[in-house]
Structures are given as structure tokens and as C-alpha cells.
């Protein structure tokens, strides 16, 4: 079977054009549909808008565009890119097709953290309370998984999957206990952190997502050849001058930290990190230089599009984005299973 690859530049340009089309659509559509003239008028400002004979937008409209929709789309792009890159890194590290960013039990950890503060402390840090609690909860679960994995990593990366599963169940049990025993508001919080949503996107908190994505990009740029070496198996990777065990731990730490930051802002948007790397490999192959760039672009497109769908499908109500990505993801996994059986 001849391997076919699409040129990286072509794939990037097409994905970037789709993203460039989706972003304004994401600003325009939602519970309230905004005409394109109003969007241009707000983006260009009153003076430049008048030059193009655009009517100045009303204050509430300006607020919706600048303070709600724009940060939402920027956050969707950053988190989508980040989750897809994390998925690709973890699939390489574990050599498991089903690895995804929530392998560390991060979702249940984040939900447990959020529920804990709602039940016991309240919003003692204002708007930062829930993101910080979710981040800390997610990180505690990730550290627990990492502690288990680093003790047993010599037995193979598949241990990570088992450790993630066990810790995930543990934190789910903790979160469910708090919901059942305490404040009923916590139940809503569990839904948000388990199914995800971009409703908390604000310019003030977007820095966390930028930090997570920057960390991932720097790591990938520095380590892309070492990541490639892992594709050849552990003994060969060692022969190529790479310590596979150390490399895996580095990947897990960077991914856990970045995913923790994303989860603290948008909850768990499942299946992005699982699906996108498979799609990207089909276009540009498994070598990381090209793969991770394409993952970043495809991930952004998927989360931005899913967010638009989640806002339109039950408008004016907003569906948790995780339901949309899970529906697409489930179909994708079925496709993956069928394709593997026919290979």
C-alpha cells in the first residue's frame, strides 16, 4: 500500500481558510444573531465604520461582540488547538490510539475541585474561584496518576490508561458524594465541568489558555525529533539517543499542566484530543513536525464549529459543547473500529 500525504502547506492553508470563515460566523450566530454590518462596525470602530458608511452599533451590541463573542471564539480556537496537540502527544507517548487529554482523570478531578468549593467555601476568590478550584482539582488527579505511572512506567505505557481510569473513578465518586450530600448547585457545576462550555470566556482569563498553548508549542518545537523517535519503539528510540521513559514523563507533565489550564476555563470538551490527531495523521502522516501544526489548526476548527452548533441547535438555550463533540466523536470511533477491522 503506497502512503499518500497531502502537502503540509496546502493542508494548513485550507484549514486556516475554514477557520477564518468559522470565526466571524461564531461571532455572528448564537442566542442572538448579529448582522455582519454591526460586527464590522464594532471591529472597525465608529470613525472607520463611518468611513465605510456603517451605522454605529448600540452599546449592548458592542458589549456582546467585544466582551462575550470575541473572547469566546479566541478561547475556542486556543483550547481546540491545545487539546488536539495534547491528544497527539499522548497517543505518541502511550502508543495507544484511544489516548486523549482526559486520560489523567482530569475531568473528574476538575469537577471534584469545583464542587468542593461550591459546597464548602463559596466564591471566596470572585470570578477566579471556580477556574482555580477546577485547575487544582484537575492537577491533583493528574499528579496522582503520574505518581502511579512513574513507579510502574518500566512495565509499559499501557499502565497510564489503567491508572487514569482508576483515578478518574475515584474523583467521580468524590464529586458525586459532595453533590448528593450537599449543595444542589454543585450538580450544575458537575454538568459544566463534565460536558464543557465556553460560556465563561472572558478576556481576563484567556491568558491561562495562552499559557497552556504556548507551553505545548515550545515543548513540541524543542522535542519534535525526540517525539518522532518514540514512533520506532522503545529499544530503537534508545538507540537513537532518546530516553523513552524520561521523554514520556516530560510529555505527561506538560500535557497534564496544559490540560489542567484548559479544563479550568472550559471544562471537559471530550473527543477533540482523540479524533483530531487521527484525522491529521491521515493527511500529513505521523511525523510530529507536520502533525502537530495540523492538529492545532484542525482542533481549532472543530471546537469553533462545535461551539456554533451547540449555540444554534437549541437556541436560545445553549447546549454543552461536550455533547456535540461526543456525538461526532462516537461516530468517529465507530469508523475507526470498522476501518481497523478492514485493514
Amino acid at each position: 500500500m503506497i502512503v499518500r500525504r497531502f502537502p503540509l502547506s496546502v493542508v494548513c492553508v485550507v484549514a486556516a481558510v475554514i477557520l477564518a470563515v468559522m470565526l466571524p460566523l461564531g461571532v455572528a450566530y448564537g442566542g442572538l444573531n448579529i448582522p455582519s454590518e454591526t460586527i464590522f462596525s464594532v471591529l472597525l470602530g465608529n470613525d472607520l465604520g463611518a468611513f465605510f458608511s456603517l451605522e454605529p452599533a448600540s452599546n449592548p451590541m458592542t458589549k456582546i461582540i467585544i466582551d462575550l463573542r470575541l473572547p469566546r471564539m479566541v478561547l475556542a480556537s486556543i483550547v481546540g488547538s491545545g487539546l488536539a496537540i495534547v491528544g497527539a502527544l499522548l497517543q505518541t507517548a502511550t502508543r495507544n490510539d484511544l489516548a486523549d487529554p482526559f486520560l489523567f482523570g482530569l475531568s473528574s478531578g476538575a469537577a471534584a475541585g469545583a464542587v468542593l468549593v461550591i459546597t464548602f467555601t463559596g466564591d471566596f476568590l470572585g470570578i477566579w474561584t471556580l477556574p482555580i478550584a477546577a485547575f487544582v482539582g484537575g492537577l491533583v488527579s493528574a499528579i496522582t496518576v503520574l505518581a502511579l505511572v512513574t513507579r510502574t512506567i518500566h512495565t509499559g505505557p499501557e499502565r497510564l490508561v489503567l491508572a487514569g481510569l482508576a483515578v478518574s473513578f475515584l474523583f467521580t465518586a468524590i464529586a458525586n458524594y459532595f453533590v448528593f450530600a450537599g449543595d444542589q448547585r454543585a450538580a450544575h457545576s458537575v454538568v459544566f465541568w463534565s460536558l464543557g462550555g465556553l460560556g465563561l470566556a472572558r478576556w481576563e482569563t484567556i491568558g491561562f489558555a495562552v499559557l497552556g498553548l504556548s507551553m505545548l508549542i515550545s515543548f513540541c518545537a524543542l522535542k519534535k525529533h525526540k517525539l518522532d523517535a518514540l514512533l520506532s519503539g522503545d529499544d530503537t528510540a534508545h538507540s537513537l539517543g532518546i530516553n523513552p521513559k524520561r521523554m514520556r514523563i516530560q510529555i505527561f507533565v506538560v500535557c497534564a499542566f496544559a490540560t489542567g489550564l484548559f479544563v479550568s476555563l472550559v471544562g471537559v470538551i471530550g473527543f477533540v484530543g482523540l479524533m483530531v490527531p487521527h484525522l491529521a495523521r491521515a493527511f500529513v502522516g505521523p511525523l510530529h513536525g507536520a502533525l502537530l501544526i495540523v492538529c492545532g489548526l484542525f482542533g481549532a476548527v472543530l471546537v469553533v464549529s462545535s461551539d456554533i452548533v451547540s449555540r444554534l441547535i437549541l437556541a436560545p438555550q445553549e447546549l454543552p459543547i461536550g455533547i456535540v463533540t461526543a456525538a461526532v466523536g462516537a461516530v468517529f470511533v465507530i469508523f475507526l473500529i470498522i476501518r481497523k477491522r478492514t485493514v
Binding site: M1, I2, V3, R95, H225, K226, D228, A229, L231, S232, G233, D234, D235, T236, H238, S239, L240, G241, I242, N243, R281, G285, P286, L287, V343
Partner: protein, 264 residues
Amino acid sequence: MKPSEILLSCENLFFIGPKGRVLLDGVSLEVKAGEKIAIVGPNGAGKSLLQRHLSGRLEGTSGNVKLLGGPIGRISPINRAQMMAVMAQSEHIEPLLSVEEYISLGRIPHKRQLGGSENILEIERAIKLCGLDKLKRQSIQTLSGGERQRASLARAIAQSPDLLFLDEPTNHLDLRAKVDILDLIRELPTTVLAVIHELALVEDFADRVIVLQNGKIIADGPPAVSLSKKIVWDVFEMNRVDVSHPISGKQLKVFEASEHQINL
């Protein structure tokens, strides 16, 4: 590298496995530049384990391994990878890699020092040498066992090593493919240390044979000495029968499983 210069050595290497079992028992040896060495022995003798210690993959319980006179553990992994390559046994290779992409991984240790064109030349040379020109755009998962072994060897050759470790390079190959791959390795201008099971093919390939049993070196010398009838019987419980080729007259060695040692 000058011929006969000592490239690699180990002294009094011990490795104690789980449950206190001695898996390498005071192994000492020297590998000189240009040698083609075969490590043979029955299953569980410690052949692959010894190779993993010599290549720096594992650390012994005691004893030391030296590369160019210095402890192997003190050499940076990248410098070590520029000097030695390993063709491992049945690796879990990413199935979506093309043959060419897989072979190109061999250039990873040299990427910082050499430009793209030099690396591409080395990759093409390795592909040509292993006869993979027509397969280079194929997916690695669609290769036959023999083609896959050749791709693995090409990846190791692309690494441009001074010392090449091969762990059972004839695994999964048919008889003809076994002979072909050993001929190819024999012609490589590099030092080779190969774990091999086919005693009948060793003599044509190696100029030195190390026989291992229960983690100990039983014999170390030219094939005719290391694979003497007595050693072959003592270690493998096989009889070595020497026969002449009916046409060429070439001396052939046949290894026969038997209940009793025979002297011919």
C-alpha cells in the same frame, strides 16, 4: 577509526535478575574496529541481555562497559547514538510511517550537526544498500517479515554508526532471505555484533563467534574454534557433522539434533 582499535569493552559484567538469578556471570570481552562478531547460545543464555548491556540500554549489577575507553554511561546519549546503532527485535513501529520516513528516523542523532541534504543522501544510500528503492513509499505495516527486517537494518545503517548491534536479524525470514541479509551485513564497512540462532550460517558471516551459556562466555574465537564439535554438543546438545559439497567440494557444517554425541 583504525582497524584493530578497541571500540567497545566490558569487564567482569554481572547482572542479577529477579529472584536473585544470575543472568550475566562475569562477562569480559573486547570488540575491535572492523570485526564481525556473532553471539550464539541456547534460548535464555543471556545473548540479547548481554547486547542490551553493551549498547547501554541496561546497566549491569556490577562491572563496566566502555566505549572508546570511557564508561558508556558518561557518554551523552546523542554522542552514543552517533557511534552505535541497534537493530532491535520485533519493535512496535508506528504503522502509518512510510518505509522512507521510518528509515529517516536513523538520522535523528545527526540532525543538529548536518544539513538537510547530507541527511537525505545518507537515507537514500541506506535505502539503496538494502534494496528498498521500490518499497520506500509503502506503508511500513504492509511489508512482509523479510522486507521489514531490511527496513530495520536500513534505519540502523542510516544512523552511520561505527558499531552496529543486531538482535536476531534473521528472525521471521525464509532461508534465502536469511542468507541474503547476512551477506549484506557482512559487506557493511562497520563493526557488527549480532545475536544469531542459525549456527550453519554463522561461519560465512562472522570472523569471531562468542558462545554464551547461562550468562557465561563458554568460547570466544574464530568460528572453527568456537563452534567445535565438543562445544556444540556441550552447549546445544547437537552434533556437528562436516560434509563436502558434492560439486564445489566446499566444507559444509550440518547441525543435527541427537540423543548421543557422535564422533565423525
